[in-house]
């Protein structure tokens, strides 16, 4: 095989045994790689109703066919898949850097990790040699410290490491898996799945050659994309970066502020991408093979957090900033560093702190409940202290580390309504009350509240539709975007490069064919995108999800936007949501309960999975 390594590594932590199996061309073609292949392999290797923290919940690490080549942004990504401890449905998260390319050179398309080690270990994949090494001395260390320690003891600087921090060790449901210090497989709590297996890190060294099937044409395409990467399609990422969104969203009144109490932040100027770049961005760096480079490294030059260094993006800046009512960039940067240190998804962490602040201001949590912290919105010390407590699971942090949904249930007294999540995953920086295409995308997203499963906000934010209107046709728009996004995360290419695929699926099909030597058309690829979304749906149905889970956070449906301005009063009603869901399910060929029909599965050549949905075909 070209592109694909053709091999899947199985690791059993119970026995310490490993084995290698072949990747079938059928799976490669149908599920592409990354999250698509990962989800299929997860389904094949798990049983219904498995607890996310059970040794029987496999953790799947999967690469795309392009990994390891020099195609810009495509060489470097990797995906983790497992049942999510946050949503109890399918969890997946993608990260970039250099880790994915290294694993491909080691000769694997996927690693499936089952069981639980007796004591803390790390997995050392050195080409064909696979070992479990003692990690007792690494416990309590941050992912970055762990990476350095492993490189040191294995004696090779170029080893690539993905590791969890204390949050993952302590089974925090917002724990992530971090590689190369600043790159996180962030969402859906997969760091805790790793922690539940007593697996502290995965270290990789690969020495094999990567060669595309059609080298000359491939290099022509690389050349062409290097040019495209210098053009307007990537300009945002090369200049201000995603924090540019702060002022854009704020002007449109679609930036959730103070736990969704507002949709507009009066001090947005102070935390804008412009301010960040002016005062804090010290360097912009790149992942392996990327000709665009986007990673904005920020350093705090003075004041109480002097010397703090981290990567900064819009979502995390938003969550730790405006969403908590905080207008001090240096404190937001410090907050981000704390999240990286403990290995927490900074989006979820910020949303949870804002939730705690909302509970405090509404008298649901007292100062005593909060270990003496006066958790008003905008209080910088409260933000940083609560993040620390969450990272260590100390005091109130122990409850908050359960994620906003479970924390809301545990606290009670109406706190559930202040917990802004979908399917148990915390919201991201788009006010869904006034972005109704995005609202549908978020509601049906298989991993819970997230913009990265569909990117449907683009229609609303760019004014391509009436963003306040719920109407027929949005279902197909979301569906088509979902298919492309699923492919992006299966290939794996970077979402920031999506604009360089001028002919979208046609360009992607060409890339796939040149690398793998497997003839692929845009139409067949589109089918794969649909198939990947369908398998995610099937997994969620097997785990007990139905239409009722395709819903929106409480405030989105019950608290109209109060701010004077263009979208005052906007809210999503149940009626509107139902209209959108019906439209979406219809466009997907699913039942009104959101269940893929047996006929649809046949069409997608997935009828081997029909038994999961057969008894749910009514309605």
């Amino acid at each position: 095989m070209y592109g694909y390594a053709g091999r899947i590594l199985y690791v059993d932590l119970n026995t310490g045994k490993t084995r290698v199996e072949q990747l079938s061309e059928d799976y490669a073609r149908k599920y592409i790689g990354g999250i698509g292949l990962g989800m299929r392999l997860w389904l094949d290797n798990s049983t219904a109703g498995v607890d996310p923290f059970s040794p029987d919940n496999p953790l799947v690490l999967a690469l795309g066919p392009i990994s390891g080549t020099m195609f810009p942004t495509a060489g470097n990504g990797h995906a983790f898949v497992a049942k999510s401890p946050a949503t109890f449905g399918i969890g997946e998260a993608v990260a970039h850097g250099t880790f994915g390319a290294e694993l491909k050179r080691a000769g694997y398309d996927a690693v499936i990790i089952k069981g639980k080690a007796e004591k803390p270990v790390y997995l050392w994949i050195d080409d064909d040699s696979v070992q479990l090494l003692d990690a007792s001395h690494l416990m309590g260390k941050s992912p970055a410290e762990t990476e350095d320690a492993i490189k040191d003891e294995l004696g090779d600087y170029y080893i690539r490491v993905a590791a969890i921090g204390v949050a993952g060790e302590k089974l925090s449901r917002i724990a992530c898996i971090i590689n190369e210090k600043t790159r996180a497989a962030g969402r859906t709590g997969l760091g805790a799945v790793m922690g539940s297996k007593n697996l502290k890190a995965i270290a990789v060294r690969g020495t094999r050659d990567i060669v595309p099937a059609k080298p000359d044409e491939f290099m022509e395409m690389v050349k062409e994309f290097h040019e495209r990467m210098k053009g307007p399609a990537t300009q945002k990422y090369r200049t201000l970066g995603t924090p540019e969104n702060v002022l854009v969203h704020n002007a449109l009144h679609c930036m959730p502020t103070r736990n969704y109490n507002n949709a507009h932040f009066e001090n947005a100027e102070k935390v804008s991408g412009e301010a960040l770049n002016d005062k804090f961005v010290a360097k912009i760096i790149a992942c392996s093979s990327c000709a665009m480079r986007c990673e904005h490294e920020v350093v705090v030059p003075e004041g109480p957090y002097k010397g703090t260094m981290t990567r900064m993006e819009y979502e995390t800046l938003w969550a730790l900033g405006p969403y908590c009512g905080i207008d001090k960039l240096d404190a937001i940067i410090k907050g981000m560093e704390i999240c990286n240190y403990y290995g927490m998804d900074a989006i979820s962490a910020g949303v949870i702190v804002a939730f705690a602040m909302d509970c405090y201001e509404n008298g649901i949590l007292s100062q005593a409940d909060l270990d003496g912290i006066e958790a008003n919105f905008g209080n910088v010390d409260a933000l940083l202290q609560l993040l620390e407590k969450m990272g260590k699971r100390e005091g109130i942090g122990d409850i908050l580390a359960e994620g906003v949904r479970i924390a809301g249930q545990k606290i009670g007294k109406g706190a559930e309504k202040l917990a802004q999540h979908i399917k148990g995953l915390e919201v991201t920086g788009y006010d869904l009350r006034c972005l109704k295409t995005a609202a549908l995308g978020f509601a049906v997203s298989f991993r819970g509240a997230d913009h990265n499963r569909h990117g449907a906000y683009a229609f609303d934010v760019k004014g391509k539709v009436d963003r306040l209107k719920a109407e027929k046709g949005r279902g197909k728009m979301v569906r088509d975007m979902e298919d492309v996004y699923a492919l992006i995360d299966s290939f794996i290419v970077c979402k920031f490069s999506r604009g360089t695929y001028y002919k979208e699926l046609q360009d992607m099909a060409k890339l796939y064919s040149l690398v793998t030597g497997i003839d692929m058309t845009a139409e067949e690829l589109k089918k794969s995108g649909e198939r990947i979304n369908t398998i995610a749906r099937i997994i969620n149905i097997r785990e007990g999800f139905s239409r009722k889970d395709d819903t929106l956070p409480w405030k989105v449906m019950n608290m109209p936007i109060p701010d004077d301005g263009p979208v005052k009063g906007a809210v999503v009603t149940q009626e509107e949501l139902d209209l959108l869901l019906d439209d979406y399910y219809e466009s997907r060929g699913w039942t009104l309960e959101g269940v893929p029909t047996v006929a649809k599965l046949k069409e997608l050549a997935m009828d081997d999975l029909a038994s999961i949905v057969e008894d749910k075909q009514e309605a």
């Binding site: 020099m70 250099t98 050659d209 060669v211 760096i285 790149a286």
Partner: protein, 164 residues
């Protein structure tokens, strides 16, 4: 013999280098028709997120790698300063690797003899320079490097003076 002042080599500007490794990919592709950093004659180092730099052969005067070779497998081209490896004589002992202050001469993972940058003699120009998206790599002489350093030092001085 080409004088030290005229001898050109590939130099990375750490201000511009972003650590993307495209130089590694294109080097191993050019030399071996494979993507594999271990087969690249230029290697990227990221000390931390802020400190990125690609490193390759500097074509030193009286190169220590040549002096260190116990088998006379290495010679320096009088014309260009390139280190020439005699594949038949080199047995991969690694003395040259130990002698190089830059880690710029490396052991090939398969042939087990050393390899080093030859400025893409066959292609006529270094491909890493051609492909670097940040224009961080340039073909320089030590004189040019020194000039550049002087200019940026003076610029910096004036900027700081202006601030005050």
């Amino acid at each position: 013999m080409v004088k030290i002042h005229e001898r050109k080599f590939v130099s990375a500007d750490p201000e511009k280098c972003v650590g993307c490794q495209i130089c590694e990919y294109i080097c191993s592709w050019t030399k071996e028709k494979a993507f594999n950093p271990l087969k690249s004659r230029i290697r990227v180092v990221r000390v931390n997120q802020l400190a990125n730099m690609a490193v390759t052969c500097r074509r030193c005067e009286d190169p220590p790698c040549v002096a260190a070779c116990p088998r006379d497998a290495l010679t320096q081209s009088e014309e260009t300063g390139t280190i020439i490896v005699d594949m038949d004589k080199c047995n991969g002992c690694g003395w040259c690797i130990e002698a190089c202050d830059y880690g710029a001469i490396m052991l090939h993972p398969e042939t087990k003899v050393v390899h080093v940058c030859d400025l893409c003699k066959e292609q006529g120009e270094p491909q890493c320079i051609k492909w670097c998206p940040e224009e961080a790599l340039t073909l320089v002489t030590s004189d040019v490097l020194a000039q550049k350093a002087r200019i940026s030092a003076v610029k910096k001085l004036f900027q700081e003076a202006k601030k005050k």
